[in-house]
């Protein structure tokens, strides 16, 4: 049997997901031995035309990381879909919108204005803004369009599986590759990670209080963190209870509260709404007059609870953005 043909591609991405593939370390050699990499623009010399030349469905599997913000990313998402049998959304950005997804809190115009004019480090006396077409002495050059908002991969094309995480943990990538090679993939649409909360596999689990009561949330710089005890129990905003497991607590092991990159379990539709619900309920205030003060200890609730998932939320974006 010939080796399965595999592609990797990045869209609106920071490059961290590509790094995660490199983090397979020597296991990457097994991957290379087992599969034929036919597209990987970040690491090898492939061009768009190489994909265009492929027959439809020629790639057996394609991993796509990053969200969709530009017309070029949209085009590439369609191309990857067309040319692969199995399309896997790789990482929080393609799964739920991820960090670039927070762009949906703002309008396209305000983002461009901020980046090209208003930010303190910008000096733009000529008021230059990116143009899709520019005439230069050497001819006309083109840029992709910066679209109105950020979309997840499955808001642009049909997606078969999701590898969650920012970036996905090596263990989950290895398991997914194994399942592909052994032809043991679960039903279409599955998130390829355990369907339980992170607390379940967190090394601090034993010290998690039975009845969680928080008088006020603290930020890591405000306390000396006990490196054994449950972070939420210490008053830190640890999103472990509402976040899917699979990372084995890489962050919580390093004294860093979970920020929710793996998204929700399958029972939850809107990660941010579910998270705000859980954290509002464990605050201890009873009197109506105290509520505002305890809620003030949740700094930037939208940025905290929708950090990775705004485009996949029920709001999708801010009104008027």
């Amino acid at each position: 049997m010939s080796k399965p043909k595999v592609g990797f591609n990045w869209l609106a991405s920071c490059g961290g997901c590509e790094e995660a593939i490199i983090d397979l370390n020597e296991k990457i050699l097994d991957v290379v031995a087992a599969v034929d990499i036919v597209f990987w623009p970040c690491a090898m010399d492939f061009k768009k035309d190489d994909v265009r030349a492929m027959a439809d469905g020629e790639m057996d599997v394609c991993f796509v990381n990053g969200a969709i913000r530009t017309s070029e990313e949209e085009e590439m998402a369609h191309l990857m879909r067309q040319k692969s049998k199995i399309l896997i959304a790789f990482g929080s950005c393609s799964h739920m919108g991820g960090i670039p997804g927070m762009g949906n809190f703002f309008s396209k115009d305000s983002i461009l204005k901020n980046s090209y004019q208003e930010s303190p480090s910008t000096i733009n006396l000529d008021g230059t803004f990116p143009q899709m077409e520019t005439i230069t002495p050497l001819g006309e050059v083109e840029l992709p369009e910066f679209l109105e908002y950020v979309r997840t991969l499955n808001q642009v094309v049909d997606v078969d599986y999701y590898l969650p995480g920012c970036p996905p943990p090596v263990r989950l990538i290895t398991e997914a590759l194994g399942a592909i090679l052994e032809n043991k993939l679960p039903p279409k649409g599955t998130v390829l990670a355990p369907d339980k909360a992170l607390c379940d596999e967190c090394p601090r689990k034993e010290t998690k209080p039975d009845k969680m009561e928080i008088a006020e949330f603290k930020r890591p710089y405000q306390i000396i963190v006990d490196s054994e005890k449950c972070l939420l129990g210490q008053g830190l905003m640890c999103l472990g209870p509402v976040t899917r497991a699979g990372c084995e607590g890489v962050c919580t092991k390093a004294n860093m509260p979970c920020t929710g990159c793996q998204g929700p379990t399958s029972r939850v539709q809107d990660y941010g709404a579910k998270a705000l619900s859980g954290f509002a309920s464990i605050l201890t205030s009873m009197e109506e007059k105290d509520v505002e003060a305890v809620l003030d200890s949740i700094v930037d609730p939208n940025g905290t609870f929708y950090r990775y998932s705004l485009p996949s939320s029920m709001m999708f974006k801010s009104l008027g953005a």
């Binding site: 369609h78 809190f105 908002y149 979309r151 499955n154 808001q155 642009v156 094309v157 049909d158 939850v268 539709q269 809107d270 941010g272 709404a273 579910k274 705000l276 619900s277 954290f279 509002a280 309920s281 605050l283 205030s285 009873m286 009197e287 109506e288 509520v291 505002e292 305890v294 809620l295 949740i298 609730p301 939208n302 609870f305 939320s313 029920m314 709001m315 999708f316 974006k317 801010s318 009104l319 008027g320 953005a321």
Partner: protein, 158 residues
Amino acid sequence: MHNEPFEPRIVAFFCNWCTYTASDLTGISRLAYAPNVRVIRVMCSGRIDPQFVLKALRQGADGVLIGGCHPGDCHYQEGNYKCLRRIKLLKRMLAEMGLEDERVRLEWIAGSEGDKVQKVVNEMTEQIRRLGPLRLAPIPVPHELVEEELAMAGAEEA
């Protein structure tokens, strides 16, 4: 459709023990109120997941009204306090996302306060009528799916 006046659609979540009982009393007392609310009975205001509120807004409600027992009166001791913290936090977040404050409203209404149901529903209906319909950005769907739906719609018409 075009020139019809705008009639707000309000989804109301009322707790079984206080506000839902109150809304029964409103009826028994023959106190008429705006027909714009669709009441969903839940056992406790503490059962109201913020996801319910968002889903109602996403699926076409112009506003969401939540009714629970007065502080101290919760049948389950503290469900309404949880509800208060959740809805206040949700409202903070939605305000930052540009939603008008009047579209999500929390009221404590005891079983004996049939007249309060009337007052709150009428008031909220008028406020939302003034604001106009809620228009959330549609959630994008893959082009293939859209094309499939169009094909299906075409087949139905034919």
